[in-house]
């Protein structure tokens, strides 16, 4: 029963393919059908997850902000995404007269494609990787680079000053945060000795003392790298407090200002799917992927664990969005280049020391020191630079 749940999706696929095979369908058609089924499943799961999250995000934000949120469409407002979808599709699609219409039209498409493509290499469960690639992590970042082009195309193609400003911000931000993002991801690849996500997940298997999971996030270097990855993931997916390209209080809607109707919906969808993809990568690299947190919890199928963790990370992102004000562009860039980048190098060094010091108590002390000291120094220098201080005020009677 347990094992059947664990591999249920794969079993169903194989059973279906076997059934088709028994009707004499040639093997190459079966291969295409199998690929289509897998693609359909992933897209279906993530789009329904997107629909669910778009309503959950609004509910959670509402909860944080002392209000109700959507509660009219369906029970608890659960049909809100459907209502939104119908509204988006039936809305007029406006293209500014002076816009570069080809670029304007292509931008949402270019945005959507990488967001969906990167889903291919994420290990969703035990033996459940749609495309097992040797260089999976490299693929993730290489394909993910396409979003930058899309954001730029959207901003420039609209021929709107806010949009162009948003596009410039987006490029500066994404280039800056790409570096610490990649470096902090490479740290895990270095420790597990492989660029393949499933190998990295299996390197985090097992339990120390029988109950402490050996996830990378629970080591000093992994914690640092994970935090850096998380922050950069927020920046890469344009989430608050790094939502400068959109920056609705400054740039109206940044690169999305001139988008309406279905094109806007496509952007919206792509941003959420991209967010899930990067959450999935975060879970894979640092939170043990599909592994259960405690040994006896193995009875729950691995793909449930994976989805659960992804949803949890996505929830924290929503939480951050509800809590923090937005950074300014110069703070943002200074933070990336002067704090995150050196810290990711420190995490890199720390991981190397951890590996060569034998992964024991000595390794803990060493790697903790290597990430801790730069953190204190850089953090001090950084807060001093902006002269952040408490003030005293004078009172006159």
């Amino acid at each position: 029963m347990i094992s059947s749940l664990e591999s249920a999706p794969i079993d169903v696929l194989h059973w279906f393919l076997g059934l088709l095979g028994s009707f004499g369908v040639p093997a190459w058609i079966l291969a295409i059908i199998s690929a289509l089924i897998i693609i359909g499943t992933i897209i279906g799961v993530f789009l329904s997850l997107f629909a669910l999250t778009s309503v959950m995000e609004r509910k959670i934000l509402a909860r944080v902000q002392n209000r109700y949120g959507p509660n009219r469409a369906g029970p608890f407002g659960l049909f809100q995404p459907i209502a939104d979808g119908i509204k988006m599709i039936t809305k007029e699609d406006l293209v500014p007269r002076t816009a570069d219409w080809i670029v304007h039209f292509l931008a949402p498409v270019v945005m959507m494609v990488p967001a969906l493509l990167v889903l291919a290499i994420i290990p969703y469960g035990r033996d459940m990787v749609p495309a097992e690639l040797d260089a999976g992590i490299l693929y993730f970042f290489a394909v993910g680079a396409g979003t930058e082009v899309a954001v730029f195309m959207a901003g420039w193609g609209s021929n709107n000053k806010y949009s162009v400003l948003g596009a410039m911000r987006a490029i500066a931000q994404m280039i800056s945060y790409e570096l610490p993002l990649v470096i902090s991801a490479i740290v895990t690849a270095m420790i597990s000795g492989s660029l393949s996500p499933s190998a990295i997940v299996s390197a985090q298997g097992g339990f120390a003392f029988g109950f402490v999971p050996q996830w990378f996030a629970l080591t000093p270097w992994g914690f640092t790298a994970g935090l850096i990855f998380y922050i950069c993931a927020l920046a890469e997916s344009n989430r608050s407090p790094f939502d400068l390209p959109e920056g609705e209080s400054e740039l109206v809607a940044g690169h999305l200002t001139e988008y309406s109707g279905f094109k806007y919906a496509t952007f919206f969808m792509a941003e959420y799917v991209g967010m899930f993809a990067i959450c999935g990568m975060f879970v894979t690299l640092f939170l043990g992927g599909w592994q259960a947190p405690l040994p006896f919890l193995d009875i729950i199928p691995s793909w449930c664990w994976f989805l659960g963790k992804v949803c949890f990370v996505a929830f924290t992102m929503i939480w951050v969005r509800a809590t923090l004000p937005r950074l300014r562009i110069d703070h943002l860039l200074a933070f990336a280049w002067k704090f995150l980048l050196p810290m990711s190098f420190a995490a890199f060094l720390s991981a190397a020391c951890w590996h060569y010091a034998g992964r024991g108590p000595l390794a803990w002390i060493l790697s903790l020191a290597i990430v801790g000291i730069p953190y204190l120094l850089l953090g001090n220098a950084f807060t001093n630079r902006f002269s952040v201080s408490r003030r005293t005020y004078l009172f006159s009677e």
């Binding site: 194989h14 393919l17 076997g18 095979g21 093997a27 190459w28 079966l30 291969a31 199998s34 570069d100 670029v103 495309a131 097992e132 690639l133 040797d134 260089a135 490299l138 693929y139 970042f141 290489a142 394909v143 993910g144 680079a145 396409g146 930058e148 082009v149 730029f152 195309m153 420039w156 162009v164 596009a167 410039m168 490029i171 500066a172 994404m174 280039i175 790409e178 492989s194 660029l195």
Partner: protein
């Protein structure tokens, strides 16, 4: 039976769609490159250049050099193309259409002529060379681990030099482009 076939298909996509896996992206590559070269609008040229980079990356992947293909996408699409676009925006965004297309005088014609002479010569050599008529050998692949070991083994000096070069280029570019502060 089915799963075995699936595995071979995934391992070598060439088997499924054959040479078209190389030819199609190569065609896209050439068309995009040609369009990028003749485009008047610089941003369009840069975007088409990005497209040709993507197509080139796919050609690499189709030829079995996965790792290089991904590196190509990551570096060229993610960084070089964006830096080009950014510098276009930073340098006279207002004059994009006014920009003269070609050099003045005979220079452009001469340039094109040189390019086509070079092309003719190259094509002549290529089609007369016996080496070039070699048939395709068995599918090859470059495992990431092997590349990593080569980079850290025989080629480690080159890698370090490259690292130093990139650092120097980064610092140099930052210094060059920095505002002259009075």
């Amino acid at each position: 039976m089915v799963t075995d076939f699936l595995k071979t298909c995934c391992a070598d996509p060439m088997k499924l769609i054959g040479e078209w896996f190389v030819i199609l992206p190569a065609l896209v590559l050439l068309l995009a490159a040609a369009a990028a070269v003749v485009m008047r609008n610089l941003i369009h040229a840069a975007l088409l250049l990005t497209l040709s980079f993507i197509a080139l990356g796919i050609v690499f992947i189709a030829l079995g050099a996965e790792f290089v293909g991904f590196v190509q996408l990551l570096v060229y699409v993610g960084a070089v193309a964006m830096v080009i676009v950014f510098s276009i925006l930073l340098t006279k965004p207002d004059q994009l259409t006014k920009s003269r297309n070609l050099l003045s005088g005979f220079a452009p014609a001469a340039g094109v002529a040189v390019a086509f002479t070079a092309l003719a010569a190259l094509l002549g050599f290529i089609f007369s060379s016996p080496l070039a008529k070699k048939p395709m050998p068995a599918p090859a692949s470059a495992p990431v681990a092997a590349i990593g070991e080569a980079l850290m083994g025989d080629y480690v000096i080159a890698l370090i030099v490259l690292g130093i070069l990139l650092t120097a280029a980064l610092v140099g570019a930052a210094v060059i482009a920095m505002e002259d502060k009075p």
